[in-house]
Every structure is written in C-alpha cells, then in structure tokens.
Amino acid sequence: MLPASLDEAVEALAATPAAVPVAGATDLMEAVNAGRLRPAALIGLGRITELRGWRYEDGGTAVLGAGLTHARMDRPDFAALIPALADAARTAGPPQVRNVGTLGGNIATAAPAGDTLPVLAALEATATLARPGATREVPVSHLLTGLDPLRPGELLTWVRVPLLHAPQVFLKATGRSGPARATASVAVVLDPARRAVRCAVGAVAPVPLRPLEAETWVASCIDWDGSREIDPAATAAFGEYVAAACVPDSYAAEGPWEAVTEGPTAAAVRLRRTVSVLARRALGRALK
C-alpha cells in the first residue's frame, strides 16, 4: 500500500493491523533479509510529502515530520535550527542510507545506537502518535523506555522539538573513520532561557541516559549573563560526572562483539573514559 496522505495511511494501518509501516526501509529490510521479520503487508510512507518536511508552532517549537530523512536534516537550513540533530543525522550511516533513512524510522526502531535518540532525549522532544480520529502526544523518552510505547495501529507522525537558539553538540565515538554505529555518543544542548544544560548519553544502554545531577551541577558553573564562560576544570569534571552516572561499575560490554574477552570492570573503565572525553569535548564546543 502506498497512501498519498497522512489520513489515508492512518486509515490503512487501522484497517490492516498486521501491516507494517515502512519509511526508508533501512532497518526494516535488514530484519526481513535476516529472516527476523515477515510482514503480512507493508504500508509505504514515502509518498506522504507532508511528513517529509517541518513547520513551526507557537514561535518556539519545530514540528518535524517523521519522514524527514537524515540527509535532509543535515542541510544548513535545518542545522541552523537544531544543530545537534543535524550533527546526529550527518553521522547516521553511509550516504546511501542517510538519503532514505528517516527520523521516524530511527525512533521506531529504537536501537541503542540510534543516533538521533540521545539528541531527542536531551531536547525533551515529544512525538505525535496518530490513529483514525485521534492523536496523542508522548515524550520520546517514554516511547523509547517502553513506559508509553507505540501501540498497534498507531503511526508516528510528528516530533516536536523546542527551538532553543543556542549552541548544541552531538558527538559520537566509533572505532573507525568510515561510517559506523556509535560505541558511545553524547548530546549536549544549552537552554539559556532556563539557564540549563541538558545532556544525554547514547549507545551505552538500551535507551539514552540523562545524567540529571551532572546537568544541574554544570549549569551552576556557567556564567550565563556574560560570555557563558566556564573553568576548563569544570568541563573536565562534567565529563567524569556524566561518565560515572551513565556507566555502572558492573558494566559488561554485552554488545555482541565489543571486548568479549575482558572483565566487566575493565570494560566499564574504558567506556567511562570514552564517555567522559565525549562529554567534555561536547560541552567545550557548546560553550566555545
């Protein structure tokens, strides 16, 4: 099925609950090819042009279509609006994948290493879920943790992101120079209106983690009224704080091929080091 409008898609999905929506198919086809998924029917979202762009609401919010591709989010006009999301989209796989892979697909797949996810968590984004005749608004983090998951027959249509008009950074560590999934990623966004720093760490746990205490502490170290300067020692301490909060002592790299021969503590030490460097660099760049 290839509905041409959002309403048609929502109706189609309600009419055939066994059908699976498909956007860029970069995750879906991988599951089909590996024999993990045999969808009874597919509902292609590619023709719904309204979902491929964004609009503004109340002056302070961007409403992003679930069909926005990573390649589109990486373009300068979008990067000026939500820099960290553009950073994440820029590194979310090779160009062929980013040309078709979408924001909605990234959220619905909810992979631990999904690159937009820590950014959405740090931005405290919400998602609109649509059924025929009804929509509901759910924080993206609740979707991801399963606190309030996507229900059968529901379509993810929009993602609401506050426009903060301040620096934000997403950094990702991979084991290589070519495109790769994150071994750890960090998003840092500044919210000057609320004098807040928000941070989320991706890929180290099934869902992005927010080091709330570290956020509060570091916000108090910033000179918000002046040039937003910070003592470099505080930036470094922030890195350590974030790492300690997000990587438990008992961390064992259960990712299938990460450090299978090492004991958990060594793995935790290494991952903390990586997260700490990323968080320090991200905050440093945001405050530069």
Partner: protein
C-alpha cells in the same frame, strides 16, 4: 627454436605506456602497458554475471543445516519432519555420502593436503557452523524451513579454543591436534648480543569476506555425472576432490567457472559444492544454492590467528646477532593449508634481514575455532608484524632511526636465509627502503589550516585536533611466490590465431587479480594482434592450477607466452623460408608482419591463408624441496619484497586511528601492467589496514560472535589511506616468466606492520596485537 628470451625481439615493452600524457593515446597494447580490464565495465555497470545470477529450468533450492556448537557428538539426526514438509525433494546427511575405507560413514573427508574435513559432519562436530545436513526443495524458504526442522541430538563436548591448550587437550580428531611442528636451527645457540629485546605479539582472525557470498548451481548429467557452475578458483582441484567425495570418476564431474565475486584466498568451499552436487544427483534436478552472509562467514577459511614470542639479540651497532622465536598458528578445526602457512612463517621468521644465528620453533595446531586456510601471505604476514615490531624496539633501545637499523641488516641478493636457501632472485631491500624514506611526507594540518581536515573518527566525528598526534612507521617484508616445499607447479595454455584475432584457452581463473588482461597483453606482445579473446574456463580444459600464491603470472603467463611463441614460429617459418631469411629477422606489429629491412610487409590475416594455427604449451618452474627437521632446505622458487611507510593520526584520548598515507616501494621484477600493479598494491594496503585496525572475526568459547558485515568491520573508502607508489623496482628475476614477480601478497603482508609501527610512533605504546583496538592507542 625460440626461447622465452626471444621476447626481447618483440615489440618494445614500453609501447603505449600511460605515463600521464594526455591527448590521443593509442589503445594500450602489449606488456608494459595498462589496458582496461575487460571485466571492469560490466562489473561497474552491474551486468557481469556471478554465480548467484545463475538459473536453470526446473531448479530446486538447496539449504544447509549447520551446527550451533563448536564441539559436540552427534547422537542422532532425525530428518522425518523435514522430509514430510511439502515441496521438499531431498534431505542428505553424512550417511548419504560414500562410505569410508572401513565401511563406516565418515562424511567423505577431504582437504587440500590432508583429507580430514568431512563434507557433512559425521558423528562429531568440530567447529561452529559445520554443515550437518542439507535439503533441496522447490522454494528457497521451504528449503531453509526444512533444514530448521531437522532434529539433531547433540552431546556437548568441551571445546578447545585456546591454541596453547591444544597440545595437552584430548585429540579433537583421529589425526591428533598437531598439524605440524617446524623447528628451525642455524648457527650458535650460545651467541649473545649487547642488547636484547623481547616481545609477545598477537594477530587476530581476518576473514577474506568476499564481496559475493558462496553460490552455485549443480546440474545432473544423463551419464550419471554432474555439472557444477561455481566461482571456483581451482577448477581442476575442485573437480577432482568433488568426484572423489562422491565416489565418481573425475570425468563425470565437469566444473564451469562463473564470475568470481572477490577472492583474496581460496574461494573453494568443498563442502558447499559437494553437497550441491549430491542434492542434484539425488533429485535428478538442477539445484541452486546461495549462502547467506552469516553462513559465508561460517564456512570459508580465515587467516590464521597467531601468537608469536620473539627475542632479538643485536650488537651495539644494531646488527642482528641472534633471533629466537616461538610461533603458534591456530589452524582451527581442520588441517587445510596450515602446514604450508607454517613453513612460510618459519622460513621468514627473521624477515628480509641477515642474521647468523636463528632458533625458531613453530607449531600449527587444531582447535575448535573456525578452520584457517589460505589468505594473501598466509604465515608471512603474521611474522612480519612480529619481526618488524622487534626491529622498532631495537631501534628505540639503540637510539637508531628505524630506517637505519633496517638498512644495517638488510638482506641482499646472494645472502642466505635462515633456512640455508641462498636468495638468488633480486632482493632490493635497501633500495626499497630508500625509496619510501625519500618520498616527501604528507602535509600536516598546520601546513594547510584551511583544508577540511579529516580527523581520526571521520567526518562529523568526535575528533579534536588538540588530541591528535601524528606517527610515522616503516616496515619491510617478504613473501614467497608459487607453491613451496616440493609442490609440483605447472600450468598449460593453448593459443589459437585465425583471421585477425587470437584466442587463449587457459584454465587459470581470473579471480579479480587480472590474469585475463595479462594473458591478452602477452599474446599481443608476442603475436602483434590486438584482438585477443580469453575463453571462459571449465575443467575440460587442461590443468592450470589454483589462483593462489601469486602463481598465475609466472606459470600460466609462462604457458601462454610459450604457446604464443610456438604459434608465432608456425606463422613466420614458411614466410621466412620463402624469403630465405631467418625467423628472427621478421617482426609482427599492428597485425602486420614486417622484415627487418622493411621490404616485406604482410598482414597476419594474409599470411594465415585462411588457416588456423594452434599451439599448446606448459610451464613448470624449477622444483623446490621440503624443509628438513632443522628447517633447512631450498623450499621456495622465488621471493618478493616490499617496503612501506605509514603515516597515521591518532586521537590519543579516544584511541581513534586514521591512516593518512601509505607510501609503497615494491620489488616487481618487471611491471607488466603498471596500473594493474597499482590496483593490487592498493588492494593489499586496504586489506592490511583492515587487519591492522578493524577486521577481527571474533569467537567466544568457539562460537562466532560477529558473522555479519555490521559486526565484522571491513575498511570503507574513508578508512583506507592515500596510497602512493614511491617505486616499482624493476630488477628482472631471471628465472621468472618475463622476469616479473607476483605483486598481490607482499603489500598485504607489510601494511599491518607499517600501520602498527606508525601507531607506536604516535602514542609511544607497545602495540603488540592486531587489530589495534581503541584502548591500545589511548595514551593521554
């Protein structure tokens, strides 16, 4: 009689060499030029047919059931549910293969050297993913479903996964756990040097990861035989072994070679093709099978993981006094070519250096890990990493420049290797080193601050210029060409001329290495005709041997050249007789025969008078001998050398490494096709960089952990460096065909050592294992 040296009288080798000159260039022609590969365009356009594109009317689909355990006894196999599934046409197990010598079903074991690997596991499973049963069905999904319905009852056995435990573990196979122990002893064991350095080195498991997974089609023949369409790189060997496993005469099996989708090692997986043939014979219908990527990782052989302990003694000037080493190769579950890889590891354990006293013990052992086999520079690569790391350590200890310590010890033509074999071929080790060392270094970010600098971690990555350190490392290495230790090397080729074109019939498979292009160039040079057709390969042609060990340029190129020279003689002899001059005074160029004085000028087509001329010739290089119990002997036909300088940037906080530039100087004997050589060098460097930084097929308790292209990280374009060729040294190897040396393996052997040296230089860390993990490169 003409002899190979007559090639000198042929059209000059430097005709139409593409040296950057633009404008109207004549079509590249003959040896020394760089014509476009005939398969390049179809491959780029996606219209080149591979085995997975094959189709036959009424075909069935095959699927294999693989063992989920690394070591287990098979108590029972129940195929009834699979057979009952509608659409299933056959289910086969070890019991369907011919019985062994003692009448029991042993799974028809086979192997390139020792027949120890069953086609389908019989009684015991010895590695994760070993085939246990196979199905043929009307639809691929039915076949896979049926395979999953086969019930196998296993009794789990303790897997032996640490090669060091293999010596004392109970035998995993009736042949025992030791594939080979090779001691090498030469000189004075009591010799001591003024400085001593020791090191322990580890090399992980690299997979050939061919672009196309294993695929093939088997078609039953009316005479009870079978025709196999496969991307084989050894059509005759594969035919013979398939026939033997099926209990058929070799002429009942015909092997047709389809497009090879990547082979940097043996592509042949005998279990795959014998199972396919068995299913076709069983059902009387064509059967097609295409493995999934995961199965592909489970089934083909990998590079040998290695553990190497070294102790180097040197005098105060840095000259080597004594080298002691213990080398352990993990051969995995079956023997394959482990014995041969061990010979290379042992013979080249000191590297391209002179050392009077060498004491090495090397072992290749059986474990329950994936079987290891042939892969560019098997054995030579692992030791190169170790001996070059040792030389770096010595250089640091003695305060010497890494290039200088290598110069002081460099092997030269006429020197002896630790095996006692004198190096009679060119060994331009010093010249290679000098060539890479004198190339200008790549620019630093400070030289060009406005450029978009690619930091370790890649574009949009987390790289921070303040934490990036640059490192420069050098390495030299060596690898042998052709089969070693007494292996019979031979190839046969037929050349035909008719009208204005020539045809080459030679069963040397172009596995991507470019042999078809080379054969065309050879015939062009000898016969002066530009249109040369290379016949597709099948096993009805004469034997040419496997596409491995850098042998086809030499043996098959030699056979093509001889056959072409014989045709040339047949063509010119009557004309020469007619004009009362000797054949040597005639030459052929641009499809025309001309005499030395220009008086005679006759198109080849006219000279043929409508006839076809055929000739068949063989090439068989001089024999070698096995290494004896002290590791002594003339085991190798010839050796190729290569030097590299790697430049890396390391983010010392995150351990991310980017290889910026690799500069290569290689001993090629003679550059028969410069562009193809550069391609081979780039490919070798890419594979070497992959092993150095990314590629590692991991196992945990014998179970494959990352058998996918997401988990197994192949280098992408961004991971591969700029490759610069500082020199292709053309010192002819007088015994080799055209004086040329094989080019593919040497760069793969040296690149990992060079990258490791550069990371060491950037971080000051020891870097003792490959691939280098991020935590091994964190020094801040």
């Amino acid at each position: 009689m003409t002899s190979p040296s007559d090639i000198a009288a042929m059209p000059p080798a430097d005709n139409a060499r593409p040296d950057g000159g633009d404008g109207e260039q004549p079509e590249p022609f003959g040896l020394g030029s760089s014509p476009l590969r005939t398969d390049a365009l179809p491959k780029a356009l996606g219209i080149y047919p591979y085995a997975s594109d094959l189709w036959a009317e009424g075909l069935l689909w095959g699927a294999v059931l693989r063992a989920p355990h690394p070591h287990a006894r098979i108590l029972s196999v129940d195929t009834s549910a699979a057979l009952a599934l509608p659409g299933v046409r056959a289910v086969v197990t070890a019991d369907d293969l011919p019985a062994g010598p003692d009448g029991g079903h042993d799974g028809a074991p086979h192997g390139p050297v020792v027949a120890d690997r069953p086609i389908l596991a019989a009684g015991v499973v010895r590695h994760h993913g070993e085939p246990v049963a196979a199905v043929a069905a009307e639809h691929p999904d039915t076949a896979r479903l049926a395979a999953a319905l086969i019930v196998v009852e296993y009794e789990l056995l303790e897997p032996v996964t640490d090669p060091e435990q293999s010596f004392t573990a109970p035998p995993l196979h009736p042949d025992g756990n030791l594939f080979r122990h090779l001691p090498l002893r030469t000189g004075d064991p009591e010799a001591v040097g003024e400085v001593v350095v020791e090191g322990l080195y580890q090399v992980g498991r690299q997979d050939p990861a061919p672009l196309g997974a294993e695929a093939g089609l088997a078609v039953p023949r009316p005479d009870g035989g079978v025709e196999l369409h496969l991307s084989s790189t050894d059509p005759h060997g594969d035919r013979d072994r398939t026939a033997a496993c099926l209990g058929l005469e070799p002429d009942r099996v015909r092997l047709v070679v389809t497009g090879v989708p990547g082979a940097t090692a043996d592509r042949e997986d005998l279990s795959f093709q014998v199972t396919l043939a068995l299913l076709a014979l069983r059902t009387g219908r064509p059967v097609k099978m295409t493995l999934t990527r995961e199965e592909s990782f489970h089934t083909h052989t990998t590079r040998h993981p290695a553990l190497l302990r070294y102790r180097h003694h040197a005098d105060a000037e840095g000259r080597l006094v004594k080298v002691e080493a213990q080398i352990l190769l993990d051969g995995g579950a079956y023997a394959d070519v482990s014995a041969e890889a061990l010979a290379a590891a042992t013979a080249f354990s000191v590297g391209p250096y002179v050392c009077p006293n060498v004491f090495v013990d090397a072992w290749a052992v059986r474990t329950n890990n994936p079987p290891a086999g042939r892969m560019r520079g098997e054995g030579a690569l692992q030791t190169c990493f170790a001996y070059e790391s040792q030389l770096d350590q010595l250089a640091v200890r003695l305060g010497l420049d890494p290039v200088e310590i290598r110069r002081r010890n460099a092997l030269a033509t006429g020197d002896s290797m630790p095996t006692g074999q004198a190096v009679t071929c060119p060994a331009p080790v010093t010249a290679l080193l000098d060539a890479v060392a004198s190339e200008p270094l790549p620019a630093l970010p400070v030289d060009d601050p406005d450029a978009d600098w690619l930091l370790p971690g890649g574009p949009g990555g987390a790289g921070d210029p303040a934490s990036v350190r640059r490192g420069i490392g050098y390495a030299v290495g060596m690898v042998h060409m052709l089969g070693a230790e007494g292996e019979d090397e031979v190839s046969t080729a037929t050349v035909r001329v008719s009208g204005d074109h020539a045809t080459v019939i030679c069963a040397a498979v172009d596995s991507g290495q470019g042999f078809a292009t080379l054969a065309r160039q050879i015939v062009q040079s000898v016969l002066g005709v530009s249109e040369v057709y290379i016949a597709p390969v099948d096993s009805d042609q004469s034997i040419a041997g496997p596409s491995a060990r850098g042998r086809h340029t030499w043996v098959s190129g030699g056979a093509v050249e001889r056959a072409a020279l014989m045709v040339r003689h047949q063509l010119l002899q009557p004309i020469a007789a007619n004009f009362g001059m000797s054949v040597e005074l005639l030459s052929i160029a641009d499809g025309k025969i001309t005499s030395y004085d220009g008086v005679l000028g006759m198109p080849v087509g006219e000279a043929l008078e409508g006839k076809e001329l055929w000739a068949t010739a063989q090439c068989r290089p001089h024999p070698t001998e096995p290494l004896d119990e002290a590791g002594q002997g003339d085991a190798f036909v010839s050796i190729a050398f290569c030097a590299m300088r790697a430049v890396v940037d390391v983010d010392i906080e995150l351990g991310a490494v980017r290889v910026v530039d690799v500069t290569v100087a290689q001993d090629v004997g003679r550059a028969l096709n410069p562009r193809q050589i550069e391609d081979r060098i780039e490919a070798g460097v890419a594979q070497g960089v992959g092993l150095a930084l990314l590629e590692d097929l991991r196992t945990e308790g014998g179970l494959l952990v990352n058998p996918s292209l997401t988990g197994y990280r192949l280098p992408t374009a961004l991971d591969t460096p700029e490759v610069r060729i500082a020199a292709l040294l053309e010192e002819r190897d007088v015994v080799a065909t055209f004086g040329a040396k094989a080019v593919s393996a040497a760069p793969a052997v040296v690149a990992p050592a060079a990258v490791a040296a550069a990371v060491r230089a950037a971080t000051g860390l020891p870097v003792g294992r490959l691939p280098i993990r991020a935590e091994d490169a964190v020094s801040a």
